[in-house]
């Protein structure tokens, strides 16, 4: 039976940038455990001969020719941005997460 601890939920929330307070963690951790349990029951049904599915249609090698298609203009690209400057997206300063 799968288990998910309150600490794991807090860690995942942190990774997903979801701000959860203590009460929410207490509330959500058991719920997630139930969801995991339900999903795990599928594992019991699938035999060794059933490979895990990542795509519902059994297709491979869907490729595109290396040919340019029209891009957006900078104006179009930035039209949905909350803030922009010099043709670029403006984002809040980033701390501690440099890739």
């Amino acid at each position: 039976m799968p288990e998910i601890s309150r600490d794991e939920v807090a860690h995942l929330a942190d990774l997903a940038r979801i701000d959860l307070d203590d009460a929410e963690l207490d509330h959500l951790a058991p719920q997630l455990a139930v969801i995991l349990e339900s999903v795990a029951s599928i594992r019991g049904v699938a035999g060794d001969d059933v490979p895990p599915t990542s795509h519902p249609i059994p297709l491979t090698n869907v490729f595109r020719e290396d040919v340019v298609t029209p891009s957006l203009t900078a104006e179009q690209a930035l039209s949905g941005a909350p803030a922009s400057e010099d043709g670029r997206f403006s984002v809040p300063r980033i701390l501690g997460d440099e890739q």
Binding site: S54, N61, F63, E65, L72, A77, R88, S90, V91, Q99
Partner: protein
């Protein structure tokens, strides 16, 4: 915040280094990995973007077939096995350089794996095992605004250009390289250099480190030295990953620096922190980046919007047939064929003239003559005019034609330089330039004889010395005759005439 360092030789007395290199190669496809946006360098910000590479809702990626082909060719050139079936995966992280909040990459199913590359360092061969080569996409480019230095720390906000986001990358990862000892820094450098040459030979990338189309991350750890003959298996120490080392020289320096820094930490009885380090080109040091997340923090999962890639064995064999000769093997072959010394070979390669010399030899020149022109006159011209040596307007066929004129005695080396001047100026073929500029050596014995007589008459002291048997003095008279003939005489013939007249 400067780190304590242990002198390099002392590091080796106590520790064995283990290296790992991750090299990102930006492919030279015309379009991005998953959309048809162009990849051209230097466009106005955010003009090569579309809903797919901006990660807008509802957009769907489609794999660039040419990029898969390049990935397979790189894998084959690195002696890898090519996956029969593999998938893309989402690497989840939040950082504004990826607008989707994940990077489409490959996780446990790389397209190529289990290869190797033999790296030569000072005549010694190290086999670098390749763990994997996988496909992924590049990120956007952030500019940090505000703060004292324009660096990320202290910045007020950042501006992002997504033109680069989605350009195909191949990440090539080595297995730990152990046993290089004192040569670890050179092995790291030689590996990246040979890999770059291979990528150039494959024609799959611009392979310009200074423009970032090849970027190296250097992993390094130290383990306590195991005495020779011991059967104890060395245990790898804690590693650091120095990111974005963007020149061959820096790869070597970064390894050297990290070895000295790790040794100081271990000598003090402390533990090396597993983390990302930033390389500083100007000062030659690394500084702490962030603590390395565990792989599971990226929460990789198979990309549901892309179907698996399953390269047929027939296709793989077709691509194998397109592989160029391995550049390292090619060099060894050419060096033997041409009889070049190690230094001559190194200079030829360093000047970017290997292919040009090869073509010139194929066009009929002797290897030494071809080398002489390309590394002398033409390399100097390239340097003086800040032009690539293959963009001077002089072809290998031209150089072979000039040398043929020298061999035939039509011109000499000095006159050949005037022919090259004519070639730079686009005055026609070497033969046409010789005719138009009147460069042909004067073989009229009468004119030569008169010039020799004139030089003897003008330099009676020198003439007397030669009559007394000091043949070395003839040089002064030869010079005078060559000047009189405006260089258009065969110096050997002039010497013969002088000695004959004064014997």
């Amino acid at each position: 915040m400067s780190d304590t360092l242990v002198p390099f030789d002392d590091v080796l007395a106590s520790y064995d280094p283990a290296l790992g290199l991750e090299v990102h190669v930006e492919l030279n496809t015309v379009t991005k990995m998953f959309c048809g946006c162009p990849t051209e360098f230097g466009a106005e910000p955010n003009t090569q973007v579309c809903p797919t590479c901006l990660g807008l809702p509802g957009s769907m990626p489609v794999v660039n077939g040419k990029a898969v082909e390049s990935a397979v060719r790189i894998g084959l050139a690195l002696n890898c096995r090519i996956a029969e079936w593999c998938r893309f995966a989402r690497k989840n992280y939040f950082y504004p350089d990826m607008p989707k909040n994940f990077q489409t990459s490959q996780y446990d199913e790389p397209i190529a794996f289990d290869g190797f590359m033999d790296v030569d360092v000072d005549g010694e061969t190290f086999r670098v095992e390749i763990e994997r080569a996988h496909m992924e996409e590049d990120t956007g480019k952030s500019t940090h605004i505000g703060g004292a230095t324009g660096r990320i720390h202290g910045a007020d906000y950042s501006l992002v250009d997504y033109n680069r986001a989605g350009i195909p990358l191949i990440e090539i990862v080595t297995k730990p390289i152990v046993g290089a000892g004192a040569k670890a820094p050179e092995v790291a450098r030689a590996y990246v250099a040979q890999l770059r040459d291979l990528i150039v030979a494959l024609g799959v990338s611009d392979a310009r480190m200074e423009q970032g189309s090849i970027r190296a991350d250097v992993n390094l750890s130290l383990a306590p030295k195991v005495s020779t003959g011991s059967t104890t298996k060395p245990v790898l120490g804690t590693r650091t990953e120095t990111k974005n080392v963007n020149s061959l020289r820096s790869v070597e320096r970064a390894v050297r620096y990290e070895m000295s820094r790790h040794a100081a930490i271990l000598d003090a009885g402390e533990k090396v922190l597993q983390e990302t380090r930033h390389w500083h080109e100007d000062t030659g040091i690394t500084t702490s980046g962030r603590e390395k997340s565990d792989a599971e923090d990226y929460r990789y999962f198979p990309e549901p919007d892309l179907v698996p890639v399953a390269p047929s064995r027939e296709w793989v064999e077709e691509l194998r047939a397109t592989l160029p000769e391995n550049p390292t093997a090619q060099r060894a072959r050419l060096q033997a064929e041409w009889g070049f010394s190690d230094l001559e070979m190194r200079d030829t390669v360093g000047a970017g003239a290997l292919a040009l010399v090869e073509e010139t030899v194929a066009a009929g020149s002797s290897p030494q003559a071809a080398r002489k022109w390309w590394l002398g006159e033409l390399a100097r011209r390239a340097n003086d005019t800040d032009t690539a040596i293959d963009a001077l307007g002089v072809t290998a066929a031209d150089v072979a034609a000039v040398q043929a004129l020298v061999d035939a005695g039509t011109i000499n080396d000095k006159l050949a330089r005037s022919v090259f001047e004519g070639l730079y100026a686009g005055e026609g073929t070497p033969e046409e330039i010789v005719a138009a500029r009147g460069l042909e050596i004067v073989s009229d014995e009468g004119a030569l004889s008169a010039a020799v007589d004139k030089a003897i008459a003008a330099n009676p002291d020198v003439a007397d010395k030669i009559r007394d048997g000091k043949v070395a003095a003839a040089g002064a008279l030869i010079g005078a005759v060559m000047k009189e003939m405006r260089g258009q005489a065969d110096a050997g013939r002039v010497r013969e005439l002088i000695l004959a007249k004064l014997s």
